[in-house]
Symmetry: none
Subunit: 216 residues, 4 copies
DNA sequence: TATGAATGAGTGTTCATTCAT
DNA sequence: TATGAATGAACACTCATTCAT
């Protein structure tokens, strides 16, 4: 049968697409706030202002919905990373910028960290063997490798730095501070989320990473 | 009523203590494996081989049980940290040792990270205003401050380093790698938990922290 | 409005007819496999490779669809029974043949029994007061009455046999064995559906019915 | 620990037992009325006047509950059959009595037939390989075999009769009439459950079975 | 101190059915 | 005639918690 391309059909298609995206956004917020286990399908439907049954219509079950949210989250952050154009910058600036981006992104997207926590609590079975996950993330490593290589060639950076290790370190410096900010605040008895504290953290992170990389 | 100090009463007391510890250990394992939301009181009772009702007898409810587990976890790690005697070492060695300890402790106590994740998902309300939590953790900061100060005085370390920032960085470098090992492995398509990979991570972490601290 | 008799309209009509028959067959299979309660409208649509909405278009709801399936089933068996031409045979042969036919028909149409079970579970409200059902079945009783009467007149059969009772008995002998074959096999620990077992059952049934009817 | 045999403990034990039996009876009625698929756990709890959760506490899930009901049903009928003392009667009387018992039992326990129907709809997977089911039913076959053998030895009965076949026939004659009484009534346009009709059916059944067995 | 029995409020999921085109 | 999107009511099952002893 010929594909129906009438305006009405397009409207319908757009509706279906819109519904799926609405659900996805609602689910992301719910999973971020309560984790995979604590999330409630009822609340997701409520957030999306759509019938709960529709979630199952499009995403089958909670697990698959979570997987879809997770993949979308990775797609989002990697997409934004590509706008940094790190290869156009001096190596040191490129690294400084990546640290800043990572920090800012986590700060503005706390749901990303919660999603990762949930995924790891379940041993990332939602991502296991996901070709898509790997494809999405390899460009970042390639870019970082190129930056490190150029820095080394120019005599600015130390050699022998594994780009994966470095990326994990950059992410870790931001992640731990932000993801565990509540326990850290309780433990150290000081608010880590004031504007001043946040600025200091970013400076510190850049100092640590560049202090490590730069050959003096 | 006067405190009963007869042998029989003591016996009973020891039993009661033992039951509480058994429950606490079972709960720690359950919370670690499934998170606060995913943990089941039934399973905790089963793991402890004790009647479920007894858990409520000693800990009132799930929340309070979680709080008890969390406090116990902090007590454990800080207790072990005091055995490091960092003040007896050269500053650089002390930092190297602290990095190694943090790494090893997280590696051997993955439940610590999961507990923190759960606590933070719930905005650490289990620790909110906990005097005990602060007391438990201040010695660590004091010690680290002393190490940094001595390093600076001796001209080995850079100045102006906030011990809290540094501690968060050390923890973050280990935490992110280990807590998110499943998603990272899926994303980067390489096993991060082989013996070799683990050794490399520790070296990298020490390089980063000392590369940052040491004045060349 | 005048009936549209253009070729195109006829074409559409044939399509409509075909769709209804496809749905009916799919529904019969689904009801047979899962019973009325266990049948799923979704699966019926899938089996028919037609849109679910179409089922409602033609049959209004599940109940009415079941009724249609049931009537179709009765129509089928009675239609086949008329091809036996029992009145052309000697009375004893006619009975033997009817027993064999009943046995074979149930064997080849197990769905018939499941449909009856479902209908009776619901107190046959789908058939209640169905003129059609009665009309469909009275010829059989008339025929059987004629056979019995002739047998009695010829001195071969005993008298006073109610054709309805006899028909119920013939059906019952086959039905119970086939409809409950799974529980019977489990209970008696022997496979009742081997070729040998099936032949023995048919012989036994004929022996029972003719042993009862024939005057020795 | 020593078994608690105090009156209070016994009371408690009895309560548990009573609850289970109450649930079992309620479930039997519900399954009988609506079949396995149509039965509702909520209604079973309501019938039993017990909390729904308790059903799961004792029987795990709907399937296992059904299995328990089914086994109980077999236990009941076979238990009653043993009270017939068939071996104390003349062979012809024994058979007549068994036919009557079967008829009366089905009449008074229509749930038994519905349960069988449900079990067979699901291919008797609830009984599959059930040692218990076989053990429960073999005495009946043994008894019937003895009756047939004695009848043959005394010259009253024909030889070569398989007791399993005969039992299936007796049951089938009653079962089909009673289990399908609603469709049969609709189809033949006559009420099959009046006192007169029921008496006639029993006579007919006895005539059929003995007409077959007796050597004239 | 210790335990088996019991419960109310959810929880993810399913189902027959309807809407809109 | 035909279809993809959407829905409300249920459904089997679960969970933290309490009762009664």
């Amino acid at each position: 049968m010929a594909r129906d391309t009438s305006p009405a059909a397009e409207e319908r298609l757009r509706d279906a697409d819109r519904s799926q995206n609405t659900i996805l956004a609602a689910a992301r917020d719910e999973f971020a706030e309560f984790g995979l286990g604590g999330a409630r399908m009822d609340r997701i439907a409520e957030r999306a202002a759509l019938n709960k049954r529709l979630i199952y219509y499009y995403f089958d079950d909670k697990e698959k919905l979570f997987r879809a949210v997770l993949e979308q989250a990775y797609r989002d952050i990697r997409e934004q990373e590509t706008t940094l154009h790190l290869l156009d910058l001096e190596p040191a600036d490129a690294v400084r910028r990546l640290v800043e981006f990572t920090w800012t992104y986590y700060l503005q997207h706390p749901e990303f960290m919660t999603l990762l926590n949930s995924a790891n609590l379940h041993k990332a079975r939602h991502l296991a063997g996901s070709q898509k996950a790997r494809e999405l993330n390899s460009p970042l490593v390639d870019t970082l490798a190129a930056v490190l290589e150029r820095g080394r060639r120019e005599g600015a950076f130390r050699g022998g730095v594994d780009p994966v290790q470095l990326y994990v370190s950059i992410a870790g410096l931001a992640y731990f501070y932000l993801s565990n900010t509540h326990t850290l605040s309780a433990i150290f008895g000081r608010d880590l989320m004031t504007a001043k504290a946040r600025n200091e953290r970013l400076s510190h992170m850049q100092d640590v990473i560049l202090g490590y990389l730069l050959v003096s």
